[in-house]
């Protein structure tokens, strides 16, 4: 009798374990399917359907789902929703640079440049030499005619990537705006070595000569 009870208990436990593994596999499978479907719909430009497929398996604590929903909502033009999903992703993975780079897409589309600058500064704290962020920060300050601040960012990437066309060109223009014509001339000439027919670098040189 005791043996029969032990066999029954063991059998029940085995059934539970198998069921749990099966459920987990099913979850993993449905998540995988949802992501797969979302990519398929996205490639067809059907962003609403892509979002729907992910929302069926939505888990608030999933960094991956929130990040992906942030991107898809941004693609659909739902910037406020996109911002909310990216914010959730950042709170789940506080050191995530990719979520912050995603966040700035809808935020800049809404014209919320202070939020963009805040996120970029957070990234620069994590990775001070991040090429894209330094370049974009330089562009923001250049657009605001704050050439001294722009110089700081362009100079940094030009030091790390001394023959990078974008860094050379923008550092050239920033020097030009700051009245450092000799430095600007050298930088425009280097940019022309990278892209020999570049109109912007040529324009810069012609302005210095005239």
């Amino acid at each position: 009798m005791e043996l029969a009870l032990r066999i029954f208990k063991t059998g029940m436990m085995a059934i539970f374990i198998v069921a749990a593994i099966n459920t987990k596999a099913q979850d993993s499978s449905s998540l995988s399917t949802a992501f797969s479907n979302s990519y398929t719909f996205e490639s067809k430009g059907e962003h609403s359907k892509a979002i729907e497929s992910l929302k069926k398996v939505y888990d608030e604590s999933s960094y991956e789902i929130n990040l992906r929903l942030g991107w898809l909502n941004y693609q659909l033009g739902l910037f406020s929703e996109s911002v909310a999903y990216y914010n959730k992703a950042i709170s789940l993975m506080p050191l995530s640079i990719e979520a912050r780079l995603g966040f700035v897409l809808p935020a800049s589309s809404q014209g919320n440049w202070e939020q963009v600058i805040t996120r970029y500064n957070e990234i620069l704290k994590l990775d001070p030499n991040h090429y894209t962020v330094n370049y974009r920060m330089g562009m923001i300050y250049y657009g605001r005619k704050d050439y001294q601040s722009a110089f700081r960012y362009f100079e940094r990437i030009a030091n790390f990537y001394p023959f990078d066309y974008d860094a050379l060109l923008m550092l050239g223009w920033t020097n030009f705006q700051l009245g450092k014509l000799r430095e600007a001339k050298v930088l425009f000439q280097k940019a022309l070595l990278n892209r020999p027919d570049d109109t912007s670098a040529k324009e810069g040189l012609s302005l210095i000569k005239s």
């Binding site: 659909l76 033009g77 739902l78 910037f79 406020s80 809404q110 014209g111 202070e114």
Partner: protein
């Protein structure tokens, strides 16, 4: 802007649509953008503010809704949206310039002044330029009095030994001044004035002589008022007014007895002044001002305390009011003065104001000592109106009609009792015209 029936139908339909409460960000974005391009400002205000309330709050939404509020002349609301837009995009020129306009059009000049330093000078496209240039103002006009007629009507008819009265006749007034901006936080108001009062002196000495002589009282006035805004909300404005009074004695006599009555011959001169200042706190729809001044009129000195509230119920200058309570106290006098003004836009470029004050104005100062009532006769009530026509942002003219209900005096000595001062009523009416030109 005129309302069209189509707009009303559209608004009603929109209300039903919004009742469904199913709009998403893209819908709000789409609708507000379309309303913006179609310039349906009322609808845009309604939908946009609902979107913001639901969390669809971003730079472009705030800018659209802010502009809609501005076109509907809701400048306080517009300013709130532009302030928020600047939180999203700190140095944005469009938001800065529209916020500057919203502040100006709602009469929040101090806040506008503080914003001015953020506006790029080279590209300001005219915004704020007037704040860096002096404004010149000129005023002049005659004043008419029925004092002589009223005196003849109400003078003491009983037999007496002595009677004396100083009667006001017509007068003229000239004023020239300038408000000179020194920085975006400081300006100075300087002015000079000339007042010419034509008067008549009467004196009857029983059984001796009966005298009547015309003379004039000339007043030279100077005014100085620097104004400092110590924050976006608070402005301090000390003020000084100096008045030099010159009067002549119209009577001369070779008789030594009569000379004792009529006083010394020739001209007399003395100085009056008002010195003090105001402190103002400005909120979006109102400004409260408190002030204190020391005032000297001939030989008497007074202290005046004032509290004023300037209120714009709609946050613009289409309707406004000013309420003031003054309290002045001296060695032998103390009284309250209550002042109420209501003004508003009558037509596209025409503003009208009407005002009344109750309480003796004699010896008091008004509008931070820009006006100083240093006459002897009591002014118990005053009423007036002003029309202001604005040709452009830089040039405006005004015409003002004012009536003062005054109290004339007669020093009279009856035969059978001691002398006393007798009072009677008369009125002064003045018509003043002026011009204000912002040099640019």
């Amino acid at each position: 802007m005129s309302y069209k029936p189509g707009s009303v139908v559209f608004l009603i339909c929109l209300s039903f649509l919004l009742c469904g409460n199913t709009l998403a960000a893209a819908d709000y974005e789409k609708i507000t953008l379309r309303l913006y391009y179609e310039q349906k400002w009322d609808s845009l205000l309604m939908v946009g503010e609902e979107a913001i309330g639901k969390g669809y709050d971003y730079y472009y939404m705030r800018m659209r809704v802010g502009e809609a509020a501005m076109y509907r002349q809701r400048y306080v609301r517009a300013a709130r949206h532009f302030e928020k837009a600047l939180e999203f995009n700190r140095d944005d020129f469009a938001a800065l310039s529209l916020l500057y306009k919203s502040y100006r059009y709602s009469g929040r000049y101090t806040e506008a002044g503080w914003l001015l330093k953020k506006l790029p000078r080279g590209e300001d496209l005219g915004f704020g330029r007037s704040e860096y240039r002096p404004a010149v103002y000129l005023e002049t006009g005659p004043s008419f009095s029925n004092h002589v007629d009223q005196f003849e009507k109400y003078r003491q008819k009983d037999p007496g030994s002595y009677s004396e009265a100083y009667l006001n006749k017509n007068s003229q007034y000239y004023l020239a001044g300038s408000v000179i901006p020194l920085t975006h936080r400081m300006n100075v108001n300087v002015a000079a004035g000339l007042l010419n009062f034509n008067k008549n002196r009467r004196m009857d000495i029983a059984f001796v002589d009966s005298l009547s002589g015309d003379y004039s009282v000339l007043q030279y006035e100077a005014y100085l008022c620097p104004s400092f805004s110590i924050s976006k909300k608070i402005t301090i404005s000390p003020a000084w007014r100096w008045v030099n009074v010159n009067l002549e004695n119209p009577f001369t006599s070779t008789d030594s007895l009569i000379r004792r009555f009529i006083g010394p011959a020739g001209n007399t001169s003395y100085n009056d002044y008002a010195a003090g200042g105001e402190i103002s706190y400005t909120a979006p729809r109102w400004t409260f001002t408190a002030g204190v001044w020391k005032i000297r009129v001939d030989k008497s000195e007074l202290i005046q305390y004032s509290g004023e509230l300037f209120y714009k119920p709609f946050g613009n200058l289409n309707l406004y009011s000013q309420t003031a309570v003054h309290y002045k106290t001296g060695t032998d006098t103390a009284n309250y003065i209550f002042y109420q003004m209501v003004g508003g836009k009558l037509f596209s470029n025409l503003w009208g104001e009407a005002y009344v004050s109750v309480g003796n104005l004699a010896g008091s100062a008004e509008h931070n000592a820009q006006v100083h009532y240093n006459s002897f006769d009591n002014i118990n009530t005053r009423a007036g109106s002003r029309l202001i026509f604005s040709f452009s942002r830089y040039l405006s003219v005004f015409v003002r009609y004012q009536v003062l209900f005054r109290e004339g005096t007669e020093l009279f000595f009856p035969f059978d009792r001691p002398g006393e001062i007798f009072y009677y009523q008369y009125i002064n009416q003045s018509i003043t015209g002026g011009i204000k030109w912002n040099l640019h």
